[in-house]
Amino acid sequence: MASEEQSRMAQSIRMHLAMETEDVLGRISMDEAPQAMGYFYRKLRQFFQQPEGLGHFDKPGIGTFCAQVPLELIEAAGARPVRLCMAAGIWDQAGGELLPAKSCSVVKAMAGMAASQLFFSGVCAVVAPTTCDGKKKCADLIETMGIAVHRLEMPPSKLSRAARNYWRESVETFMAQLQGWTKQKITRKSLHTAIHRRLMATEQFRRLCRLQTKGVLRAVDYFLVTQTGFFDDVEAWTLALSDLCAELEARVAEGRGIEKQNRPRMLLTGSPVLFPNIKVPLWIEQAGGPIVTDELCSATDMFHDAPAYDETCLHDMVSALCDRYLSPCVCACLSPNPDRIRKMISLCRQARVDGVVYQTFSGCLSYAMERNAVAKALADEKLPLLYIETDAGFEDQGQLSTRIDAFIESVQAKRRNF
């Protein structure tokens, strides 16, 4: 029986996933973890190990790909968004049977996740922006598994008038589809509330980023916070985030933890850091280089921007959301993509970065291809760059941690000589 086989596979993947998340969380030392981080560890454990136990499952879940889906619309329609970009090794492996071995591990992991049906019990449909080829084909694959997929058509560029009009129409189609799914109308009021909730979340996230540049929060913790934001209820997340910020601010006031400020300050960019694959930030941090800022669609690029509108009418709010999710987007799938380098340099200046670590998943061609342009721009800024190509698993620890260690040592040596 195919379905029995399927459920056996799902059960096995589930067990391995629980093992994997436990292994990863176990690698994070709890000694200097802020108390308020407990919420995030708990949520992640719950989500990856007993997803049924999460509190807000009363609302229908809408799975999303990438960072270009206007989440406010989903919330305004009475659903809860769950960003499905997660890169567990076990999913990667399961997805490897469905997609070519050379495709990137995020895409494979998402296919594997769909095959194991773990999160799809609570998720009634999936929204996939047409970003890179991998994600597009992954959406096609998921659709064949009997999951409702809406393709949020994204223009290949964001600068032209045609692109803006196309995107606007695409978002409006998406709205109609959403309301069809949830049978709930997006009203002026519900959208305004949803936007406001996300605004509050953004405000707290920015507060965390400011603390991050002071080096008081470990990079792994920072990425666990953003990862929790993928599926958690916004209001609960915002609250927990504000508690965390308050605790960290108290630490700063006491002068605790900020000695890391004088370590080589790193910026992480490239393919996203997606739980449970947090090895690169883990090793960077262990090598003694705090990640003070990042340009990743799983962190800053997802939570940093906030929409604004003058008149509180539905049309203008949707218009603001359209711009919020397309215009500041610096995903490497866009062509041209001048803003990514500009943003990175601006972040480097603001956070006084000493070196940049550029990670790509093997198979994530768009990011790999942008590497040289980024390297050149950073060289002009006299910033060293470490390029890492990696996958979801921990098997390349030896090679990678040596490279990361050596990179941070060389940045340190350079700083000392100045």
Binding site: E395, G398, Q399, T402, D405, A406, E409, S410, K414, N417
Partner: protein, 268 residues
């Protein structure tokens, strides 16, 4: 007189080196890594102590490096093998700007500046293609010892055959098919060396190659490989007196330097 020790725990061998206050090499010990890092590292360390006629307490500082650096508990601090290698090479020859190191499971190319600091480096990814492991594999298939490869290389004449892959796993089938095609063994060995050299040269170009190349790591003792690299990069290749222990030496120098300014880089 205080001594400083560096221990390089590599994937193939563990190398321990001691330097005196002036930074001169005082002694060294080498033993294979085997299955247990910590135990064999301890063994190499003790061997070195014996050689110096000293006890652990007499050693001012120990720095570990290499693949297993974090597993060696007696170390006061650890440093990545790239930094250690650069330091050792720069101390041996201050004119060094490019270092190529071939280890048991990796190939590294390091660029230095005038101050001896690492400015850039390249390293192979996960797989062990073109590394010491590949040489060992080739030697085993050809039924020689790794040390003999250099001499045998000298015997070859004409044009060596090309090996398409430097993969340690594929090597077997490829070498066997070359032998089956009637290539004499020295020819095949030369082919192996040239294919490694090509790979090293490719890696070296990504970080930039200086006029003189400092070539170290165990396989640098293999004069056939040195010749292949020289002919591939068309540059002068300098091989130090003891190529295998350059990294351990660099780690020992790091120990000496941190002792001089303890606040500088303590990571424990």
């Amino acid at each position: 007189m205080p001594y400083f020790v560096g221990i390089d725990i590599g994937s193939a061998g563990i190398k321990a080196a001691a330097v005196d206050e002036a930074g001169n090499l005082a002694g060294f010990a080498v033993c294979p890594t085997g299955g247990s890092f910590a135990k064999n590292a301890q063994k190499a360390f003790e061997e070195l102590l014996q050689q110096l006629c000293m006890r652990r307490e007499d050693i001012a500082r120990v720095v570990s490096t290499g693949y297993g650096r974090k597993l060696f508990k007696p170390a006061d601090e650890f440093v990545s093998e790239i930094t250690a290698n650069a330091r050792g090479a720069f101390r041996i020859d201050a004119g060094v700007r490019t270092v190529i190191n071939v280890g048991g499971q990796d190939v590294k190319v390091i660029r230095l500046n005038e101050a001896g600091n690492v400015v850039n480096f390249a390293m192979n990814d996960k797989c062990a293609a073109g590394t010491g492991r590949f040489l060992e594999m080739a030697a085993r298939i050809l039924e020689f010892n790794v040390d003999q490869l250099g001499e045998l290389h000298a015997e070859f004449q004409g044009v060596p055959p090309t090996l398409a892959s430097t993969c340690a796993v594929f090597a077997e089938t490829e070498i066997i098919s070359l032998l089956a095609a009637g290539h004499p063994k020295p020819q095949v060995i030369a082919g192996v060396h040239y294919s490694i050299a090509r790979r090293m040269a490719g890696l070296a170009r990504t970080v930039g190659v200086a006029d003189v190349i400092f070539f170290d790591g165990g396989p640098a003792e293999n004069c056939g490989l040195v010749e292949a690299l020289r002919n591939t990069l068309i540059r002068k290749i300098v091989v130090p007196h003891l190529p295998q222990i350059t990294t351990a030496y660099g780690a020992a120098l790091t120990a000496r330097a941190s002792e001089a300014s303890p606040a500088a880089d303590v990571r424990r």
